[in-house]
């Protein structure tokens, strides 16, 4: 049997699936070639389910807008298949057991190319580093020793016969000399089954660790998945598997987990895999559970049209208490003696600190005693120090006001979006009532649903346009952006108002007409804005102001 022929076969088969996809997909131009090939080949291979998933995703790609990205959803099983494919590829090249290849790949953080290179160079060193038994002199054999049993082999780090030993045995960990059962990895270090179980449980559950070494203190051998599955409980084994696939997905820029708690779907989005692509696109994706998130930064909402880097800046700014500090700076001064923070809320400039009884002038911050009898006015007001202090204070106040203007609108749209959902649930009840009292059909009272959905979506867009406007540098481009923003905002507010108008059976046809028209218009405005910003990123039209200046250089 020759390793070489194996290599070529494996190589060509798997390349079509995903290996070279990232090269093709970076510019996103060759989508159509790609859709057809794996789906049709899926039938030929043993991978039918995968092929079906791909073609299903392809259907959804028919109408892609400039501000949307292609992505695929992968189930747990599909991730497993991808993982095993990688392992089998490596196993094929070097004539290894897939379980061994898995351990090697994990050791190399799933960097297959580097693993292949290194392994070609010095297989023994790589095996030693990865905690795998040295390769045996035997050539790869057909491991058909026991049908039905996993293809675990003598060469893999697998389980050794575990019958109670005949020679006097004492578990080196718990000192039990009559254990019911013992296990050992290929290194032969035997321990009782209870200790192995507890050990694996501690590793997997407490430490969240999937690389498990032999318990012997000098032994570096790793337990492979078959061993772990055999020794520990079902739950622990499941958790171990989860940790492994998380590691696989986490180490690939092409895949990402849905960040919502409890959701186990994986999204594949090759066009957003590179860091540089995130400067021009906002890869909003949706898992089958309808969890919307950003593939780029894993934020659990759609932050279009603002790119990840800037939205991160914005969220950080909003979370930071730096703005609180800004407020304090704008509105308070410190007592010159005890440094207590004081907010002046009225009265004259003769301040007496409540805490230390220090008397000073609010205007010049100098001691009050020097002001003599002129307590009603500070004659030192025009002195330089005083002027500088006032300048610094008004600047800080202006920047705070600017921030608050954008922040308030940002937060307002978020809140309004939530309120519109509340409103809808009320409207829905009303609609249901109407359906029973009038002769309207179910479909005829559904128009509000679409309107609310659209309002919600657009308010989210609007929300992020305010964050974007905060960071955009002044100029023509920003003005055009703000025009689009204003048009959308106006349309959304109009539609919101319609949603709140009273419903009675007589005006329903009119209302429906109005609302449907408005919904279509809003939808269009939203598309125009998103499309324009997406295009702007590609054209490099957006310039950032001093608050996000780092990004201008990065581009």
């Amino acid at each position: 049997m020759s390793d070489e022929s194996d290599y070529y076969m494996d190589d060509s088969a798997s390349d079509n699936y995903y290996d070279d996809d990232d090269d093709e997909m970076v510019d996103g131009t060759q989508d159509s070639d790609r859709e057809s090939s794996p789906a049709s080949e899926g039938e030929a291979s043993d991978d039918d389910a995968f092929g079906v998933e791909l073609s299903a995703a392809a259907l959804g790609k028919v109408k892609r807008k400039s501000y949307e990205v292609n992505f695929e959803t992968l189930s747990d099983a599909a991730v497993d298949r991808l993982m095993n494919k990688e392992a089998e590829h490596v196993a094929g090249i070097f004539g290894l057991e897939p379980s061994t290849a898995l351990l090697l790949l994990r050791h190399m953080a799933w960097n297959k190319e580097r693993l292949i290179e290194k392994y070609m160079d010095n297989p023994e060193a790589v095996r030693k580093d990865a905690g795998i038994l040295a390769a045996p002199p035997l050539a790869p054999t057909s491991s058909s020793s026991s049908a039905g049993v996993r293809r675990s082999a003598r060469r893999a780090n697998s389980v050794q016969p575990s019958a109670p030993p005949s020679t006097p045995f004492m578990c080196p960990v718990c000192c039990d000399d009559e254990p019911p059962n013992t296990y050992a990895l290929a290194c032969g270090h035997a321990f009782c089954s209870t200790c192995w179980e507890t050990y694996l449980h501690t590793k997997v559950r407490e430490e969240g660790e999937f690389t498990v070494r032999c318990m012997d203190s000098d032994c570096k051998l790793l337990a492979d998945d078959a061993f772990i599955a055999r020794v520990c409980s079902k739950e622990d084994s499941k958790r171990h598997h989860e940790l492994v696939s998380r590691n696989f997905v986490g180490n690939s820029s092409q895949y990402k987990f849905c960040p919502l708690p409890g959701c186990s779907y994986t999204i594949s989005c090759p066009s957003a895999a590179s860091k540089s692509s995130l400067m021009t696109i906002v890869p909003t994706v949706k898992c089958p559970e309808n969890h919307v998130f950003c593939f780029g930064c894993s934020l659990d909402q759609d932050h279009r049209p603002l790119i990840c880097h800037v939205s991160k800046l914005w969220l950080k700014k909003c979370q930071d208490d730096s703005e609180t500090a800004n407020w304090i700076k704008s509105n308070t001064k410190e007592c010159t003696k005890c440094q207590s923070t004081i907010e002046k809320n009225g009265g004259c400039n003769h301040m007496t600190c409540k805490k230390c009884k220090n008397e000073f002038c609010w205007v010049c911050m100098g001691p009050w005693a020097e002001h003599g009898n002129a307590w009603y006015t500070c004659n030192r007001y025009e002195e330089r120090e005083g002027v500088e202090a006032r300048d610094a204070q008004s600047k800080s106040r202006a920047s705070l006001e600017r921030y608050l203007q954008y922040y308030n609108r940002w937060a307002n749209h978020e809140q309004s979006a939530r309120l519109s959902l509340d409103l809808y649930s009320k409207t829905e009840k009303k609609m249901e009532e109407m359906q029973t009292t009038s002769n309207l059909t179910w479909i005829e009272v559904q128009f509000a649903r679409k309107a609310v959905d659209e309002v919600f979506k657009c308010r989210m867009t609007l929300k992020w346009t305010y964050a974007m406007a905060f960071y955009l540098a002044k100029g023509n481009e920003k003005e055009l952006f703000e025009d689009n923003q204003r048009d959308l905002e106006k349309a959304v507010e109009d539609l919101s108002e319609l949603l709140e108008s009273p419903i009675d059976p007589d005006n329903i046809p009119v209302l429906r007409q109005k609302m449907t028209d408005k919904t279509v218009y809003v939808l269009k405005r939203n598309e125009i804005l998103l499309d324009d910003t997406a295009q702007g990123y590609l054209d490099g039209r957006w310039k950032w102001n001093a608050d996000a200046a780092i990004l201008n250089e990065a581009e």
Binding site: V173, C175, M215
Partner: protein, 144 residues
Amino acid sequence: MALPKETQRLVADPAPGISAAPHDDNLRYFDVSITGPDGSPFQGGVFRLELYLPEEYPMSPPKVRFLTKIYHPNIDKLGRICLDILKDKWSPALQIRTVLLSIQALLSAPNPDDPLATDVAKHYKENEAAAKAVSREWTEKYAQ
């Protein structure tokens, strides 16, 4: 589960220069003393340590701390010890006995390249003779 047997062995067959005894009221808490190895600046000293076996022992390492003041690059002011087997290199097959032997070995062979007490390590690297003199001085002063 592994406790009583291991403790029995530890008390019955102590390693040279090391003694360890569990507290009467808490079998997980040990009073330990280690004599300074010959040829090291800690020779002639008797160092007291405390050792605690956490709930997860032997799957997690024991917690060990010097109670006697010691001038050593891998042991800080609070008596905490920088030793790989007490952290990520822990193996359930290691025992209290092996841990204590490792600590004793650490006294013979300080490792200033992987320091915990950075000032002591610096001293050891820049002027080993002077640093060892301080270690000897501390041993005489605190570890008798």
